[in-house]
């Protein structure tokens, strides 16, 4: 299967058409987006190969392989940092964006019109001063339910497509939350894992309460958990990144085969140079994964996350990485 890799960086969006070996940007004069726009987020289209949404500091953009360029999507987000973009996996015209300051914007017509959600996230916070959206997730059991994490304001859930929100932070040791993964079992039970600045947390009651999980220091030397992703084959395999600090110098990738109860270090060809910021999975092939460190390294796995090879090309600061089957 041919696939395309995408990287959102502080110098635009980069593409790879050779399985991550080399990366390039669109032609500078005609790419459709300033090629040094700060880009934080990407969303591939679940049904249209070659289509990508990118959230930047200049607005929201759509790339297609047909046009080979970005097209600007008018929205109320032009003066905000679009830190997260997510497309509903079953209703791809339903798009949710999260910004800094922490606001949620929703389109139900593929970006033609937008509404601002009444998300009552903190308007000021300790340390980073301004809250921001760090992840967006669509509930696999209910098409109208959306989950988000906010740095620094915990977890929120909406059951009505973003019209109202419930704050779900009881038990979180730290409201500096980064990412979520969900395990839904046949008996109706659900476990949610939440990565935070102060370790990994788990909820067994749909987010009503959280408890921090203990992970041995020899496995996770630091408390700063960042990206967490379920492998796309629904076998309970979870990958998570742990780093010394956000703009630090070290990190590890952990793999769990029992949905977070126990963890091992993934085998990397080279040590990372900073916290692993983003992990990319795609249901098209659960064995192919990518991750990127915040300071520009890219790694690829072809065996479902057990072993990883560092790609030669390094980019600038990478904020998101993704991959999707190629259009042609």
């Amino acid at each position: 299967m041919r696939y395309t890799g995408y990287a959102a960086t502080m110098q635009g969006v980069w593409f790879s058409h050779d399985e991550g070996m080399s990366w390039h940007r669109l032609p500078t004069p005609t790419g459709g987006m300033y090629n040094e726009a700060r880009c934080w987020s990407l969303a591939v289209h679940p049904r249209c190969p070659g289509e990508l949404l990118a959230g930047t500091d200049q607005g929201l953009y759509r790339y297609t392989d047909d046009t080979r360029r970005f097209d600007y999507i008018p929205s109320p987000m032009d003066d905000l940092h679009i830190l997260q973009v997510a497309r509903h996996p079953k209703q791809p015209e339903f798009i949710v964006c999260g910004t800094r300051p922490a606001e949620i914007f929703i389109s139900e017509d593929n970006g033609k019109s937008w509404r601002r959600s009444n998300l009552n996230a903190g308007t000021e916070c300790w340390f980073i001063n301004t809250c921001r959206v760090t992840s967006i997730h669509f509930d696999s059991r209910d098409a109208d339910t959306i989950w988000i994490t906010i740095e620094i304001d915990g977890v929120f859930r909406s059951s009505d497509r973003g019209r109202t929100w419930t704050h779900l932070s009881e038990g979180l040791v730290d409201r500096d939350t980064h990412d979520l993964v969900f395990l839904d079992r046949n008996d109706g039970s659900r476990t949610i894992l939440c990565s935070t600045e102060a370790g990994l947390h788990q909820s067994a009651d749909n987010g009503q309460s959280w408890a921090r999980l203990s992970v041995p220091e020899e496995i996770a030397p630091w408390p700063y958990w960042r990206s967490i992703k379920s492998r796309a084959d629904d076998k309970g395999v979870v990958l998570a990144s742990v780093g010394d600090k956000p703009s630090g110098e070290a990190g590890v990738l952990l793999i769990s085969r029992d949905f977070g109860q126990t963890w091992d270090r993934a085998q990397l060809s080279h040590p990372v140079n900073s916290t692993i910021w983003s992990i990319a999975v795609n249901s098209a092939d659960a064995e192919i994964l990518f991750f990127a460190t915040i300071f520009g390294q890219i790694y690829r796995s072809r065996d479902g996350g057990s072993s990883w090879e560092k790609m030669q090309r390094e980019l600038g600061e990478i904020r998101a990485i993704a991959w999707a089957p190629a259009a042609r």
Binding site: P29, T30, G31, G32, M33, Y34, Q58, G59, T67, R69, D71, Y72, P74, S75, P76, D78, S113, W114, R116, N118, N120, A121, G122, T123, E124, C125, W126, F127, I128, C131, I152, D153, G154, V173, D174, R175, D176, E197, A198, P223, Y224, K245, P246, S247
Partner: protein, 215 residues
């Protein structure tokens, strides 16, 4: 001097695109009867605006924007209280534009219109003030505007009258090239609130225990 950062996506006829960022600090309004300058802070590329709960007139305009590669032709819409001078309007400008020289040979046939869910009122540009009456001769024989200037040629007789809240769309249609520019915006009344009981702002903290705090 105050300015507006205009970030157009300039679409070429062969589906090409360039994205210059242009600093604009002079807004010139022209009609068959009126010519004058308006404050730059009234210029915006926002897609949402708050207005007073009065009857409004929404009037489309074609925009000429000074640019080093040749003036741009864009689309704007003036939003003002009914009966108010166009010089006191808010000027919304679309972030997509064409290069003027790519349409100059059939400029008069372009159609400018405005409407709510559909475009209901249109005018051909040949009935408006023409670009050669607005711009000056450039060294290369073409037309040009001084740097930093946007000129809005207003179609005063093509007006949508409505009260907020409303959504409208303005359009500049090039039937010859099968292209169009659109500008859609939502106008909310200042008296309307999206919150049913607007909450007080919250300050949030991260760690509760003794955890060294990072970003």
């Amino acid at each position: 001097m105050a300015h507006f950062l205009y970030r157009p996506h300039v679409l070429g006829p062969a589906n090409s695109i360039t994205t210059p960022d242009l600093v604009i600090d002079r807004v010139r309004l022209v009609t068959n009867d009126v010519r004058g300058y308006a404050p730059i802070h009234r210029l915006s590329s926002a897609v949402e605006l708050q207005v007073f709960p009065h009857q409004l007139e929404i009037t489309p305009a074609y925009a000429l924007v000074a640019a080093g590669g040749g003036p741009l032709l864009g689309l704007a819409a003036l939003v003002r209280d009914s009966g108010e001078s166009i010089l006191k309007a808010d000027f919304l400008v679309s972030r997509t534009a064409w290069r003027f020289r790519n349409v100059m040979n059939h400029f008069g046939s372009l159609q400018l219109g405005v409407g709510r869910s559909t475009i209901t009122d249109t005018v051909v540009l040949s009935r408006l003030l023409q670009p050669e009456e607005i711009m000056t001769q450039a060294d290369d024989g073409g037309l040009a505007l001084p740097r930093g200037v946007i000129a809005l040629c207003v179609a005063t007789r093509t007006t949508l009258i409505a009260e907020p809240p409303l959504e409208f769309t303005a359009r500049l249609l090039d039937q010859l090239s099968h292209r169009e520019l659109t500008l859609s915006a939502k106008l909310d009344s200042v008296n309307d609130d999206r919150w049913d009981g607007r909450p007080l702002p919250r300050y949030t903290v991260g760690p509760i225990g003794k955890v060294e705090h990072y970003i």
